[in-house]
């Protein structure tokens, strides 16, 4: 009985992990990408539906308290699965177009997703560690999935080395926390928390591990190189699903495990947030490679998200959750359009200079990219605006005026680099006639759906926002508010 309850609580993860094992077995026996792809989409979709339903269900613990379900975890799972599903949908056409479709891609994606699901459901440091590692190791391999390509190998190796390095800090932090409190359960650690050096150092190192995963400055250095070298649709997956998973876990750790009064945690996050916003936006301005630009943009967005965490209020947390979803939608979209252009022959279409005049050639793609970039800038009525606004409001209400102002200024600076591709696409004449291939129906409709979602949640965000806020009125964060 207990066993079934546990499995049921983690059903999306179980389905996805199982699908990962099955696909890898299929791949071992025959080269049948169709069925692997089908199974992948099906399992992700099934997981997504289950975890969305879970959001409205009760909150609880399973596997002897190792994981939690419902509430924030369910929302985190939904975002992760949403990101994975849409990345898979655009991946097939892209990967076969660049002639590198391997069955392993889907298996690795599924296993990484299972790791992320564990991460966002974690209620125990060991679970966090397993989740992060399952996710990361798959991502290291995915970064270099194209064999014989130097840039991919470089990305993969760098990601691995630095990832291993940061995991060292993470693990050390966990060990110190265990030493300080004698437990690995988040809530028990919170109960045993104190201001002594051991606890603070442990928690700080744990945070550092997370900062690396969410690419906050100065732990961000791997991001541009890895994003650039990885196949674009996989980059989309890294930038959205893995980042969302890490952020949700960070949020859970901060809200459940680290009592605010033990040290100046908000101050640290504030400084890191400022550094991240400023550096991310500044360096993005000078990028010519659109994938690097999007990499720095994702760093900048991590900064905005940290603002919400620094606020540390239920309002801030729900804003962060909303922003993660918004960020996932628009980023997959933007990377998707880039993936579309990138597979054209003849020119390097990751170079923004080669986007001149493309807007009128394939109007749909031009319009879609404009949608996503506008949303990333944070212009109403797109979802990016709502997310940014919620974080901004949360920061103001929590008294972080300076953070809010910097967020606003940084966003203003970001207009420059987000609108640049659009200026190139629409206001400059093409310098060379490049025939653009037609995108497939699945690819196209996936992007259209994403664009529609940026608009839909930009206008009708009320229900989702209320749902997210309700997570924090329940006793899920008794700890945070109670103390």
């Amino acid at each position: 009985m207990d066993y079934l309850h546990d499995i049921n609580a983690f059903l999306p993860g179980v389905i996805v992990a199982l699908a990962g094992l099955v696909t890898i077995t299929i791949d071992a026996y025959k080269n049948d990408h169709g069925s692997i792809y089908g199974l992948t989409v099906f399992s992700l979709l099934a997981g997504l539906i289950l975890s969305v339903m879970d959001m409205f269900g009760p909150v609880g613990e399973a596997f002897t308290g190792m994981i939690t379900y419902g509430g924030v975890s369910a929302f985190g799972s939904s975002v992760v699965l949403f990101g994975a599903l849409f990345c898979v949908l655009i991946s097939r056409e892209y990967l076969s177009a660049i002639d590198h479709e391997y069955g392993e891609v889907y298996s690795l994606l599924l296993i990484a997703t299972a790791g992320m699901l564990g991460l966002v459901s974690a209620n125990n440091l060991i679970m966090i560690f397993i989740g992060i590692e399952t996710m990361s190791i798959c991502l290291y391999v995915l970064a270099g999935i194209i064999k014989g390509q130097k840039i991919g190998a470089e990305a993969s190796l760098k990601y691995f080395l630095l990832g291993a390095f940061s995991t060292g800090f993470l693990l050390y932090g966990m060990a110190l926390l265990y030493g300080a409190t004698g437990s690995l359960y988040l809530t028990e650690i919170a109960e045993g928390a104190s201001s002594d050096l051991l606890f603070i150092a442990g928690a700080a190192l744990l945070l550092v591990g997370f900062f690396f995963k969410v690419s906050a400055v100065p732990f961000h250095m791997w991001t541009p190189d890895v994003y650039q070298g990885t196949p674009t649709t996989i980059t989309a997956y890294m930038a959205t699903a893995s980042k969302s998973a890490a952020f949700v876990a960070l949020l859970i750790v901060l809200s459940k495990m680290i009592p605010a009064e033990t040290a100046n945690w908000a101050g640290v996050i504030e400084v890191i947030a400022i550094l991240t916003m400023v550096m991310g936006n500044l360096i993005a301005i000078v990028q010519d490679n659109i994938k690097r630009m999007l990499a720095y943009s994702s760093i900048a967005h991590a900064g905005y998200l940290l603002v919400g965490l620094a606020a540390g209020t239920p309002e801030g947390y729900s804003a962060v959750l909303f922003y993660l979803f918004a960020y996932t939608i628009m980023n997959i979209g933007a990377f998707g359009v880039v993936a579309y252009y990138e597979r054209q022959q003849g020119l390097d279409f990751t170079d923004i200079n080669n986007y001149v005049g493309l807007g009128f050639k394939k109007p749909l793609m031009g319009v879609l990219l404009s949608f996503f970039l506008f949303s990333l800038v944070g212009i109403p009525p797109f979802v990016g605006f709502v997310g940014k606004y919620l974080i901004f409001a949360a920061a103001i209400n929590a008294g972080y005026i300076a953070l809010a102002v910097i967020l606003a200024l940084a966003s203003a600076a970001s207009v420059y680099y987000y609108l640049r591709p659009m200026v190139y696409m629409y206001f400059k004449d093409p310098h060379k006639d490049v025939p653009l291939v037609r995108s497939g129906i699945v690819f196209r409709s996936t992007l259209v759906v994403l664009a529609a979602l940026t608009l839909y949640f930009g206008i009708a965000f009320g229900d989702l926002h209320n749902l997210l806020s309700s997570f924090y009125t329940a006793d899920w964060v008794t700890h945070l508010v109670g103390q």
């Binding site: 207990d2 066993y3 094992l21 890898i24 077995t25 791949d27 071992a28 026996y29």
Partner: protein, 125 residues
């Protein structure tokens, strides 16, 4: 608190003394005719000094990694087996699942030719 470290200190002391004692004894008792080869440190038959970018066959690493995976399996299985009576039969299911997962990996390795020492046939052709 330092008395806790006393056995370690004793062990370390014994080790150091014993090493010095043995080296001195062999030097004193045995014949001593050194040459270059004899003075080399012994490292499993490999040349310990040389080009850092020395190239190995990739198959070496593949087998090594596969070995570590199953090594870790054993690390899990032994303690579990020892405490099986405490854990109860429910954990048997967990362990079976764990081993099956590794088994899937093994199948994948074999099918992809990762264990094929001949690179022409293996996964790097």
């Amino acid at each position: 608190m330092f008395e806790n470290y006393l056995p370690i200190a004793i062990l370390a002391g014994v080790a150091v003394v014993l090493a010095i004692l043995l080296m001195t004894l062999s030097r004193v008792l045995g014949p001593y005719r050194p040459n270059k080869t004899k003075l080399d440190p012994y490292e499993s038959g490999m040349d310990p000094v040389g080009d850092a970018a020395n190239r190995y066959s990739i198959s070496f690493y593949l087998v090594a990694i596969a070995f570590i995976v199953f090594d870790v399996e054993v690390v899990f299985v032994y303690p579990w087996a020892v405490s099986y009576l405490d854990f109860g039969p429910g954990t048997l299911v967990s362990m079976i699942i764990f081993i099956l997962e590794l088994y899937v990996g093994l199948i994948y390795l074999i099918k992809k030719g990762a264990l094929d020492w001949d690179l022409k046939k293996g996964m790097f052709n």
